[in-house]
């Protein structure tokens, strides 16, 4: 009897993992206890030991496959004296019910142990990709085959134990985000205990989760993929599958616009003094022996610093909304949107109020370089209370960015350009930069937002004040 090797659950909460590497080739003899493959989860890379002896007849899931569900057939072992070819042939039919997973895109190029880059605020848990939606015909009977998450088969009912529901309610955890480890994905008490420390918690609105109350209307409203495709001539377009970053951007910004009441403010800032100061600072930067200056401050670096100081001046605006309370932050952790190929990511300059312009500038250069290489660690792009999005380099005059939860505000920076201004009744030319502020009205009211923006303008127009 050929032995099926299934995707193992390396932790109680694991639902899927990436098959990182096969350490045995087809045809290799395998002893019980031999390490045959390496599996990556969001948390770690682990080795898979063979439980049986035999010959590796067929590798069903090739290495590099991402998001292989637990209990999926990954290889077939021919037992002692068994026909390897026959065992391998048998594997094909067995593997058939789960083709969807093999078609999924490869894992992002993040280093194995760290989570895949989450462009906005990651949860440390990559959202699960869609699973095969229904049980294929002829699937094994319940309890004997791959675990099927019933939640996906039943219009959103979350199977959970009464105790789990009560514990979740008391801990303020949305049970729809909890990975169930009970029979067929039922959420049980131990899952809530695990979720309290962040284990097995899905990103809000992740596709694997049952529709959260807020996300439900989209599901109801959004036309199906087929309907959208039907609007276009076949072959008139190319289908580009979403990568993880695209999925997360879509989820998080949809979530943001649906749950956060956005409120917008605009202000013009005179930046002649800032530009002069910048020139002076950069001109006097010490140079190393190759003639390379120690720093080159950009306008955006000033913006980061000015926003950080403004938040200190108006601490009521340096907040995060939660259902039960306002989180009032002590430091100004400013996220900065960095456009990268295929999306964007928002590394966070921590305690920016305490950092010098040159420190901020150098940190941003490093962040931008590593963001482009998708090498940022989750702790570098999670959290923060505000963000800066700057499209000035494209000549954009003004715009309003979408708030990136858990932030309460985001500053949208337009181009600095010479514009006519009226001074003492005369029209003069001045360097003007328009900035927009989007606020989460639950946390930052209009007047408070205006106060923050005024404080920001104070620093930007008088950069010397940043030294105080």
């Amino acid at each position: 009897m050929p032995i099926n090797i299934l995707m193992p659950a390396l932790s109680p909460t694991m639902e899927k993992g990436n098959l990182a590497k096969w350490l045995k080739k087809e045809g290799d003899p395998v002893k019980a206890g031999d390490i045959i493959a390496e599996i990556e989860t969001d948390k770690a890379t682990m080795e898979v030991e063979a439980a049986d002896e035999g010959v590796l007849a067929k590798i069903v899931v090739p290495e590099g496959t991402a998001d292989v569900p637990v209990n999926q057939l990954i290889a077939v072992l021919a037992g002692e004296g068994e026909d390897v070819k026959a065992a391998a042939a048998g594997a094909k039919s067995a593997a058939a019910p789960a083709p969807a997973t093999e078609a999924l895109p490869k894992a992002a190029s993040a280093p194995p142990p760290s989570p895949q880059p989450s462009p906005q605020r990651g949860e440390g848990v990559p959202p699960s990709s869609p699973q095969p939606a229904a049980v294929p015909a002829g699937a094994p009977s319940p309890g004997e085959g791959p675990r099927v998450d019933l939640r996906r088969m039943d219009g959103g009912r979350i199977f959970s134990s009464p105790l789990a529901r009560r514990l979740a309610r008391e801990a303020g955890i949305d049970i729809g985000r909890v990975q169930g480890t009970g029979p067929r994905g039922r959420v049980v008490a131990r899952d809530i205990e695990a979720a309290k420390s962040g284990k097995g918690l899905r990103a809000p609105g992740a596709p694997a989760a049952a529709p959260a109350p807020a996300a439900a209307p989209i599901g109801a409203r959004a036309p199906s993929d087929e309907k959208i495709r039907a609007l276009f001539e076949p072959d008139s377009y190319e289908v580009v599958p979403h990568d993880n970053m695209r999925k997360i951007i879509a989820q998080r910004l949809t979530e943001s616009k649906l749950t956060i009441p956005h409120f917008y403010l605009t202000i013009d800032c005179l930046i002649d003094r800032l530009l002069a100061a910048r020139e002076e600072i950069n001109a006097t930067a010490p140079k190393d022996k190759d003639g390379k200056p120690a720093y080159k401050i950009s306008v955006n670096d000033f913006v980061i610093k000015a926003l950080a100081l403004a938040l200190q001046k108006v601490p009521e605006a340096n907040v995060t909304w939660t259902e039960s309370a306002m989180l009032k932050h002590k430091h100004s952790d400013v996220g900065v949107a960095v456009a990268i190929k295929g999306g964007l990511i928002t590394p966070v300059v921590r305690k920016a109020e305490q950092k010098s312009l040159s420190a901020i500038s150098n940190e941003m250069k490093d962040f931008a370089a590593r963001a482009r290489a998708r090498k940022l660690a989750p702790h570098e792009y999670q959290g923060g209370s505000t963000a800066v999005s700057n499209l000035g380099m494209y000549g954009i005059k003004d715009f309003y960015a979408v708030i990136n939860p858990p932030h309460a505000t985001i500053l949208s920076v337009g181009a600095g350009e010479a514009r006519p201004v009226v001074r003492d009744g005369k029209i003069e030319a001045a360097q003007i930069m328009t900035v927009g502020l989007s606020t989460d009205h639950r946390a930052v009211d209009g007047a408070l937002g205006a106060e923050l923006l005024a404080a920001f303008r104070g620093y930007i127009e008088n950069p010397v004040m940043m030294l105080v």
């Binding site: 090797i5 193992p8 439980a51 209990n71 309890g143 009464p162 009560r166 049980v188």
Partner: protein, 472 residues
Amino acid sequence: MAETAFDVLIIGSGPGGYVTAIRSAQLGFKTAIVERDYLGGICLNWGCIPTKALLRSAEIFHYFQHAKDYGLSADKVGYDAKAVVQRSRAVAKRLNDGVGFLMKKNKVQVIWGEASIDAPGKITVKPRDNAPKGALGPSSYQAKHIILATGARPRVLPGIEPDKKLIWTYFEAMVPEKIPKSLLVIGSGAIGIEFASFFRTLGSEVTVVEMLPQILPVEDAEIAALARKSFEKQGIKILTGAKVSAVEKKGDGTVTQIEDPKGQKQSIAAERVISAVGVTGNVEGLGLEKLRVKIDRGTIVIDGMCRTNVPGIYAIGDVAGPPMLAHKAEHEGVVCVEAIKGLHPHPMDKRLIPGCTYCSPQVASVGLTEAAAKEAGYEIRVGRFPFIGNGKAIALGEPEGLVKVVFDKKTGAMLGAHMVGAEVTELIQGYVVAMNLETTEEELMHTIFPHPTLSEMMKEAVLDAYGRVLNI
């Protein structure tokens, strides 16, 4: 030629072993089971089942004696000890045959003899008598996975070595030639108490000696105290905190020296003594030492998936440690083979293993006792409901007993349930299901219990824990 290589081979066909074999066969493994004495093991042949048959005879005898209470007359009520034992043996035989049938039906190969493991994957079976038809005999066998389900046997304490004539273990106590006039039972666990109850009902003068301060030491103290009161009312003498220092044989009787906690000595004469001081795992003669299978205090050390420290060798049931209960063995066996199959079962939660004692009144429990819950640091809510408040209990003429539940005050999780009284061994499963599904007090309160049943007390006890009891 007979098959000698298997996917899974189980040593021991007790309730753990044979259930494991069936599940293994269901999962498509080529399965064999080795037995040296009786298909069905101790449970079916010398334990759970035949004692229940004996206790049933005693129970009916008791009803006859109290026929008047029910408006009936039954004069000249008596018993034939031989016939009582015979019935018990017939019940055991029937189930023993049943296991043979189940093995055949599930295509599990029975191998008859004494097994020892030569190396992982290889065992030798030596001859034993009374092989049933169709069983394979002594030979060498191979199996990818070997599951030890060899069970346990009565523990022997120095100075109380059973001679099987005057000093009995449960083997002899189960097949008495006559009912002794007087009987001393050493040990008040389930086995000791059940025999005490049986022999007392049939007229023996029974004394139970327990070393610990409480009879039925694993049970909730309140429940054990109620049971004790009831036993004493029936005329069972109970000595707790008492140590047996020696048992002397004198003619066709015994004299036992007993020392109480204060050092007071007394000697008790009894026709027969039953040593029921617990059981110990059957770990010997299996080749485990040579393979360096880890053993701790007489039982094999396993992980949550019943794996020993040696790959390919597993252990389940009594031989793999307490609680030594048939249903625990069965569940472990299922977990074990499902894990081998790669189905990723969850390890057994030992807190959810119920325990039943079939004395009169019966005792049944699951989960933490009140004391254990407090010790574990829980803030608790306790609910109680007495049999006297239940219509069905009164109608049955069984007004003595108590249902007690322990809840976690913070979460409403049920931590334990404890019962003493008529039929409670059949009731406890309701709470076991509830706990397994992680219900809270709320769901139990919203569950409709049929009237009139004893089970209504289960709901009332929950209501009582939350100050909402109705019928008391």
